[in-house]
């Protein structure tokens, strides 16, 4: 025990070194992964690759339909999940009382966040594709992705709304504003950067997901762009899965190029979210 007491500063130093190494081992592969794909995929990127259709069983040509498809799916997801998510967050932060029902809602949100993505795919197949007869379509896939993104948007938006000081509400109400006027003109405005961050992080997840769209809207190959929300679509993550596992003798360049475009798409959203958040934190006066 005495020996230990004398050595405890050595123990601390060794411990700190060990734990620093652990953190580095966790983080360095992330940088490595991103750098590796940027390096390997860079040479595949050309105007033709970004704006052309796939040819020769996808072994040459571009990935335009997959890029457009992912844009459609992301926008479609936003259309449903953003209004619903913000409204649910407003309810939880401004209206809900601390009772059994509210606790049940929170439990439901936690569970939605934990449901495996492939189970969302099954659900979308059962409800949207078959029961509501939307077919494998952009609409069915977007709705499926929306419900999957909902918990992210609700919980980050609620956090942003709750961070607005109570005094803002009291003052607004005392000036004669109604509750909704207070929320729509004061609270939402103050919480906007936080809500935006949550929306982008949620959509980032939706843009990168494959399993929920596998049976609800993703197409292996389409010779033209989708014309309506009831058409199936190609999508970047699914396309990467297809060309890296399903197509024999696929040129490695196109695979890395596709991975690069998907990664840049997702990383851009991630960076925008981070920037909005840190700028809002710096500017905040309350």
């Amino acid at each position: 025990m005495k020996l230990f007491a004398q050595n405890r500063h050595i123990v601390q130093r060794l411990g700190f070194i060990a734990i620093t190494i652990m953190a580095l081992v966790t983080v360095l592969p992330i940088i490595g992964t991103v750098a590796f794909i940027l390096m390997k995929g860079g040479s595949a990127i050309s105007l033709e690759f970004l704006s052309g259709f796939p040819h020769d069983g996808m072994r040459t040509g571009g990935i335009l339909p997959a890029i457009i498809g992912t844009l459609y799916l992301t926008l479609g997801t936003a259309l449903f999940s953003v209004p619903l998510g913000i409204a649910a967050a407003i309810y939880l932060s401004e209206y809900a009382r601390d009772n059994q029902l509210t606790r049940l809602i929170r439990l439901a949100i936690i569970n939605l966040a934990g449901i495996p993505s492939v189970v969302y795919g099954l659900f979308g197949l059962g409800l949207f594709v078959l029961f509501l007869k939307f077919g494998t379509s952009i609409l069915a896939a977007s709705l499926t992705l929306s419900i999957m993104t909902l918990p992210v948007i609700i919980s980050t938006s609620e956090e942003a709304l709750r961070a607005v000081p109570q005094a803002f509400r009291t003052v607004s109400i005392s000036l004669g504003a109604t509750r909704w006027q207070t929320i729509s003109r004061i609270i939402l405005k103050e919480a906007l950067p936080g809500i935006l961050t949550g929306i982008i992080l949620g959509l980032e997840r939706a843009a990168g997901e494959t399993a929920p769209i596998l049976f609800t809207g993703a197409a292996f190959f389409l010779p033209q762009l989708p014309h309506s929300p009831f058409d199936a679509t190609m999508a970047l993550p699914y396309h990467l899965f297809v060309i890296s596992t399903q197509v024999p003798e696929m040129p490695i360049q196109i695979q890395y190029g596709t991975a690069l475009v998907l990664l840049v798409f997702v990383l851009t959203m991630n960076v925008i979210a981070t920037v909005i958040r840190s700028r809002a934190r710096a500017k905040r006066q309350w």
Partner: protein, 298 residues
Amino acid sequence: MEKSLSWPEFIITRLIQSSGYSAILFVALIFFFLLREGLPALGEVDISSLLNFRWYPIESYFGILPLISGSLIVTLGAALIAVPFGIGTAVYISEVAPRWMREILKPLVELLGGLPSVVLGFLGILVLAPFLRVFLNLPTGLTAFTGSLLLGGIAVPTVVSVAEDALDSVPRAYREGAWALGATRWQTIWRVTLPAAKSGVLTAVMLGVGRAIGETMTVMMVTGNAPVLATGLGSLFAPVRTMTATIAAEMGEVANGSTHYHVLFFIGIVLFIISLIVNVIASSVVFRAKKRAERILS
């Protein structure tokens, strides 16, 4: 307070209220549609043949035990990686790292959480699997272990962010008390801060494990897709097939309404219930901890 709501305000309030309730509706809808499409499986296949060791749908063998064992062994491997590294990184970020390091590490870990799983699977096939095949001298690099390594990476961000929150919420006075008694910072971390954050760290582990069980694309791409029963640690270095990968790989090829289709939905029910249990336990741990904190403060 709300004596006379004008009717537009009344409608908006109702809309907001029903949006709030929608989360409950969606969980119920998901469960309902899984049951609707999955329960017929129990009428078409005996329970005894469902709980069997052979998954070979073409010849109507629907034993889901190899798939469950595949999920378990891959998840176990992932947990063995994600738990120590996740908690270690959380302790480093919250207790040890200088401020500038923290500002770099936190967004990086968040970035890992945002990487599409299909990109990790892609790199798994092209880089990690060939490397492991040579390095470990295996017949194939597409094994449960490869899946565990990547899944560990996928679960780490969850573990780090939840565990770090838990460590952050330990009152500073606890640490100061320990330092004042002569404990080193290292001793304080292990004997005061971590034990005080125990329930939050436990939640982090649960949510990380939940994340790993549910992950689909990465495991489908790198675990070799062989539905054989995992019998021991040796299976870690052989190809396996998880529940999630089976659904993703086979649902596209089955006829709607066939027995195979119903059984795949039945596997979905199993996954849904597992995630329900994991999340209910994880959140009840948090609630209990909150109550105890309130008791201490009052």
